[in-house]
């Protein structure tokens, strides 16, 4: 199991003993992650901000119940997911897909690109491309979208995600695989047309070998 950092445990103890203002510093490194977690469920910036604030307040009120047997960030993620999901249940006008229904077998074959061209990140300067990617992510089934954003946006480990969601690491991997393949299938044909640049073969594989 991944455990809390000693420094964070010390701060938490001090907050509980009355140094309340330390809570600002405690959560500062996780502000972005908490927002993104909320967005992964709610898909709306305003709703996500409200949920993120509420999750932080709940974390503060419940700080005494944090035992340090998970990372503080994992605990925060878990509170945020609960907060966001309960808001979604209250406000959802559309049918909320059951978390399990998305785990049924589907076709996860990729889009076959014979000539993939690398898209430089400068391309994101164009709002249209960023929107296209966001829409594709928002269109994923909820359980895939959560895992995908926790892993590929927040860069949490598979094990931390499993802890935060209360599922097995294997299920996290399966959902992640499916999310990535669905995005590949959806975005590759679009991105492929975006920029006719010279292909860079194995440029990143070479770098990590």
């Amino acid at each position: 199991m991944v455990q809390a950092l000693p420094k964070e445990m010390e701060w938490i103890a001090r907050i509980l003993q009355g140094e309340r203002d330390l809570f600002h510093d405690l959560i500062r490194p996780y502000e972005r992650a908490v927002y993104l977690t909320a967005v992964s469920v709610l898909r709306d910036a305003t709703d996500a901000e409200d949920a993120a604030q509420e999750a932080m307040i709940k974390a503060y009120r419940g700080l005494g119940s944090f035992r340090g047997d998970a990372k503080f960030s994992t605990w925060l993620t878990s509170i945020t997911l609960n907060e966001a999901r309960s808001r979604l249940r209250k406000t959802a006008k559309v049918r909320v897909e059951s978390l399990d229904s998305a785990d049924q077998d589907e076709d996860f074959t990729p889009f076959l690109v014979a000539d993939w061209r690398e898209i430089p990140s400068e391309a994101l300067e164009r709002e249209e491309l960023a929107k296209q990617i966001e829409r594709a992510i928002e269109g994923l089934p909820p359980s895939y979208r959560e895992v995908f954003l926790l892993r590929d946006k927040e860069e949490m480990s598979i094990e931390e995600i499993a802890q935060a969601l209360g599922v097995t690491a294997n299920l996290v991997k399966v959902r992640l695989f499916r999310a990535r393949m669905m995005l590949q299938k959806q975005l590759a044909p679009y991105l492929k047309r975006e920029l006719p640049q010279r292909r860079r073969w194995f440029s990143w594989l070479g770098g990590r070998a």
Binding site: I15, L16, G18, R20, D21, F23, H24, I27, E31, Y35, V39, A45, T46, E49, A52, Q53, M56, I57, Y60, R61, G62, L63, G64, F108, T109, P110, F111, L112, V113, A114, D115, W116, E118, I119, S121, L124, E125, L129, A130, I133, E134, I137, R151, D152, K153, E155, I158, K173, L176, F177, R180, M181, L183, Q184, L187, A188, L191, K192, W204, L205
Partner: protein, 83 residues
């Protein structure tokens, strides 16, 4: 261990996360060396992940941090955490 395209695809995600075994890695890389299709698929998935990680995707709302700390400040002034 010899893989054809269809058998490589399920490994692409784990390969990117480096959670494959050494034997699987060797088989995948051997396949990729000869298969432009799978190499391109791997490139495209990786490319999407790089773009997703960029701060311009799901930008934080302007003033998010300030509003968050203001709200937290009000709560800190109001009460101690529950025990």
């Amino acid at each position: 261990m010899k893989l054809d395209c269809k058998h490589v695809w399920p490994y692409i995600s784990d390969y990117i996360d480096d959670t494959v075994t050494a034997e699987e890695r060797a088989a995948i890389e051997e396949h990729l060396e000869h298969c432009e299709i799978c190499s391109a698929i791997l490139d495209s998935v990786h490319n999407i992940l790089v773009l997703t990680a960029d701060d311009r995707i799901f930008r934080l709302p302007l003033g998010y941090s300030e509003r968050l700390h203001e709200r937290i400040g009000e709560e800190l002034a109001r009460a101690a955490p529950d025990d």
